[in-house]
């Protein structure tokens, strides 16, 4: 275990949230983001990963007026305020979709599949959806 003590003497664990699903077609992206914010509020060591269609969650320019749903992509920009700074996007997933990091709503670290494997292997809790 990699438990360490947080500033209030509480256990801090490494939580990784892996987003693999596109936004809007299902609610998983939105509700998963709520969980990320709460984990950060609990002062855990939070990483957020975007692979497969999960990278689409970060696409700039989302305009949901026509489908009557709430555009939650601005919330990704609030992650920084919660000290969630470890945002990883898999290069392969991005390239397969013809996207570049410049087209995403927040700065992210674009990592290779191999690097992502390493990062994932260091976590205490992994929540994929």
């Amino acid at each position: 275990m990699s438990d360490e003590m947080g500033y209030q003497g509480e256990v801090v664990k490494r939580f990784m949230y892996v987003n693999r699903k596109a936004p809007y077609g299902t609610i998983y992206a939105l509700e998963n983001l709520e969980t990320v914010l709460i984990a950060a509020a609990f002062d855990q060591d939070v990483s957020v990963v975007f692979v497969d269609d999960g990278v689409y969650q970060l696409k700039k320019g989302q305009d949901t007026k026509g489908i009557g749903m709430k555009n939650f992509s601005p919330t990704f920009r609030a992650l920084d305020d919660y000290d969630v700074e470890k945002l990883y996007v898999e290069k392969e997933s991005l390239e397969a979709r013809g996207l570049t990091a410049e087209e995403l709503v927040v700065p992210v670290e674009v990592v290779s599949t191999e690097e992502l494997r390493e990062i994932m292997a260091q976590q205490d809790v992994v929540l994929s959806c």
Partner: protein
């Protein structure tokens, strides 16, 4: 033209109910008739009047109720699917009614087009 609409997923979890709602609205705006909306599988959860989404989010249960009232729509919730999922008469929002699967077959027979929204 007479449309039948089948909604297979609950509100919020999948976009199916949103898409069906927008489709119904557009069909009515074009002067078509929405002959029946049938809610099957998790679609029965669209009728739960206790649903209380965040204030800045859409409330699909209310949207269906209101569209139903304005256009006198027949909003039918499948009884078998509803019982299994704990949707009973006391939970039904205004305008919905619970009935059998035969109502879906009837929609397939009577409507000129049946359009399905699901996962």
């Amino acid at each position: 033209m007479k449309f039948g609409i089948l909604v297979n997923e609950g509100p919020f979890t999948h976009q199916a109910s949103d898409s069906a709602y927008r489709f119904a609205e557009a069909a009515l705006a074009k002067g078509h008739e929405v002959w029946r909306v049938f809610f099957y599988h998790d679609g029965v959860n669209n009728s739960n009047k206790l649903a209380e989404p965040q204030s800045d989010d859409r409330n699909l249960v209310k949207l269906w109720s209101e569209l139903g009232r304005e256009h006198d729509l027949d909003l039918v919730v499948c009884v078998a699917a509803a019982l299994r999922r704990g949707i009973k008469d006391e939970l039904l929002a205004a305008g919905f009614r619970i009935s059998g699967l035969g109502q879906l077959v009837e929609a397939g027979i009577q409507a000129d087009r049946l359009v399905v929204f699901g996962d």
